[in-house]
């Protein structure tokens, strides 16, 4: 069954458990043929930087870096909240593959045809 699915993620190293589970769920959605988006906002935007997730590994889960790479390889989208990104003075040149900096309108467009959204 085709359709869209959004995972909104607001955590990074401040809550690696949430960050990991968010990508586990996102991988389940993309594996189920959903057009899947992970929206990174507030602290979550730090995950958009190359190398940041390399040392996040929660017991019982695959390493976060691997989860994220698999998600992108499977066709998943990662949107990065622009003001949250700028506020933390992150580097646009160090964005991970598959990540795009966006503002709210792009998220609204994705959700506007009734996509479900789960937040971590």
């Amino acid at each position: 069954m085709a359709g869209k699915f959004c995972v909104s993620l607001t955590s990074a190293k401040n809550d690696p458990d949430k960050a990991t589970v968010a990508f586990v769920v996102a991988n389940a959605a993309v594996a189920s043929d959903k057009e899947t988006l992970v929206f990174l906002s507030t602290e979550g935007v730090r995950l958009s930087q190359q190398g940041y997730a390399d040392d996040i590994r929660e017991e019982g889960f695959a390493p976060l870096k691997e989860l994220m790479e698999n998600f992108v390889k499977a066709g998943g989208l990662i949107y990065v909240c622009s003001p949250c990104f700028k506020r933390r003075k992150l580097d646009e040149g160090k964005l991970i593959g598959g990540a795009t900096i966006v503002g709210g309108a792009k998220l609204v467009e994705f959700l506007s045809d009734g996509s479900p959204c789960i937040t971590y």
Binding site: P83, V102, G103, A105
Partner: protein
Amino acid sequence: MERKALSDEMERTLKLLADLQALHGRLCQRCESELCHHEALFSLSMGFKNAPLCCSCLAAEFEREPVQMRDELWSFVLHRPCHRAGWAWANRDEGYDPAVLPGCLWPYPRKASERPRAPKTLDTAAESCESETWDAGDMACGDLVLELRLRLRGMKPRQVLRITATDPGAREDIPAWCRLTGHALLSAKHPLYWIERKED
């Protein structure tokens, strides 16, 4: 001999352009949808000068899918200089950028009521002297589109707003916002964007 061939080609082109202009505003003889210039050209190509049909009805006449019919006729047009001239005229007259496929037939042939308004080109927008400018600086996300909404509301329909928006999110956000709201994005070359205000 060469000169005569050239002269004949010019004559054919002039005649075709005159025929095209004569079909301006005509309705499809079958479904009564108003023909665009490109459909009029297709009808001329198929010998339907006196009883022109829209692309979908031409397709039905020849038992083809509309998209297949369009592609076959477009290929026919591309291979004939006088028809290519007619196509270029149709693009110009309907305001389509010659570098893109016209929205009346792409991504699929549409009836008049479903056609997008022919987009203004930047040249015509600039010529109209109706454009306004706004330097949004690094404004982003909700602030950017909310201010954009207010500014466009204060303008007249079809006026053009030229925006400078340096926020990296604007690359995705401004086109998405235009798709959501129905304003026409005429050009997006980050950080410059041209938006034509929609009708009320």
